[in-house]
Amino acid sequence: MKNVMTAGSVCHVATRGLAAAAIWGSMWLCAYAAAAAPLTVTQVAPGIFVHVGAIALASPANRGDIANIGFIVGSRCVAVIDTGGSFAVGAALRATVRKHTKLPVCYVINTHMHPDHVFGNAAFVPDHPQFVAAANEPRALAARSAYYLRTLRREIGAAAAGTAVVPPTLTVDGKRSIDLGNRTLLLRAWPPAHTDNDLTVYDGKTATLWLSDLLFIRHIPVIDGNLSGWLAVIAELQKLHPRHVVPGHGPLDVPWRDALAREAAYLTAIRDQTRRAIRNGVTLRQAAHEVGQDQRRKWALFDDFNARNVITAYSELEWE
């Protein structure tokens, strides 16, 4: 528990009243946890269950249930892959696991440090799993956790209750396999792409590749790592031959090669247009308005992320 930080502990305006509210909230949470409604999941391959999150920003209505999360069941135990954007979503995922199997949860794998993928971790603390992430993840998460918790509280309000940062207990540098009993998962940490701590999960038994946020479908790709690096990782992914692919956002029934090509096309457009803007002396502010506008109709949440993507791309590419 030492490293668990709560949604309120970093709030600058914390008052005694707020702390009291949190204790009240925790009592409410006791009732809530008992009644956490299971999530809808799809079995994409035998033993592989995915819940498709909303293509939306976190809100009180969706409680941060905005990423694709799920679990893989072996003969000995279960690996949860990403836990959703709040304690409430994590608790609902845990209830879903319980509905499908009595086997214990032995691993909780975080595919990267973003809040919509890690903020349900605390709901699995009672299971005493290994929390697994890429080697760069704890540093990236620690640096942002106060900011993420503050933002979550602003975005989803009371639904943030109980949300805490649970850092990994096991990290992956390069590749590593874990055994769920009669089922081996191959974990792979990638060079900086979507973030600097992207981790994919491959189930050899069903040839399922859980790409998480290396692949966005319909939801505009979000750049928080390295744009050129992401394009290089996509080129590597295109050489692979999985039967099933799980994207981090968006539907499960879209042919993944086409989806990956569409993502690459967006990232390439942003890279090329941003490079041109920099070469022509266009300012950051102006570039944020102009770059990528021809991509608008192709993506959901374009206005929420495109300008920020351009700012990230610009601040990377201006040093080329």
């Binding site: 709560t6 305006v13 925790s26 503050r150 209750a161 502010r285 040093w319």
Partner: protein, 298 residues
Amino acid sequence: MKTGFRYCLLATMVGIMLAAANVASAATDQLTDAALWARIRHNLFSDREMQAAPEHIIALDAPQRAQDAALVPLAIHVGIAQKPDHYIKTIWLIIDRNPSPVAGIFHFTPASGRADIDTRVRIDAYTNIHAIAELSDGSLYVAKRYVKASGGCSAPAGTARAVALSHLGKMKFRLLEPRATFNQPNQVLLMVSHPNDSGLAVNQLTHYAIPPYYVHKIAVTYSGKPILTADVNFSISENPNFRFYFTPHANGALKAEVFDTKGKQFNDELVIAADGSASSAASGNAAAIRNDPDAAAK
């Protein structure tokens, strides 16, 4: 029910930790925007008269809502030419609700040509931003914008930017046009690779604050004459980036000296030839570190 009990325990601990982390809010949080500005204004300018700036004197350009609070583009546009008898001497850039509100004090001369400045800042909370111009006759003009952004001072560098940070003191210094035009204001871009750490970001694993380490002064001269002298702080984003003007009357050297809070100095130089073409003296933009205490210690 055993599991339910564990949840209760966990959640109640959460509440208790929250109570323990009951942080006293900074006194300025309680002030209204107007009261906060009145206090800052009084501290900096006492009772001096200050007029709202008409757009033709000074305009502040900032996004209404920032995409990235750690990297908010800001531009101050000036409508008057820098003439020897009538020019903008100083511009203060103030981000009212930042922990250290005075983000920069920029000193200009008639040789600046234009007193425009374009940079990127961190913004910690929804805030007014003020740009105050002092003219050579001592008059003061103020422009104001409200920007919605938060967390910029304690937010860490994006991982993309962290890559650039690996080259401390690397500089890029170039004209925005292919060559300089004499007797006209020419815009230049100065980039410095530097973390510009605020000292307000905390490592949540160790709970130690990342110590402040930032660029505090920039001095630009052309053929030895001051063009721009800026006192800045960590409200300027990592990898400080400035666009400004200078007016050359003949060939010469545009020199930039950058000083940080560890006493390091980074230099770059643009040599303007008689035909207006520019070349970076520090070849390949690599900055010469003249005064590096880390190197001296080895």
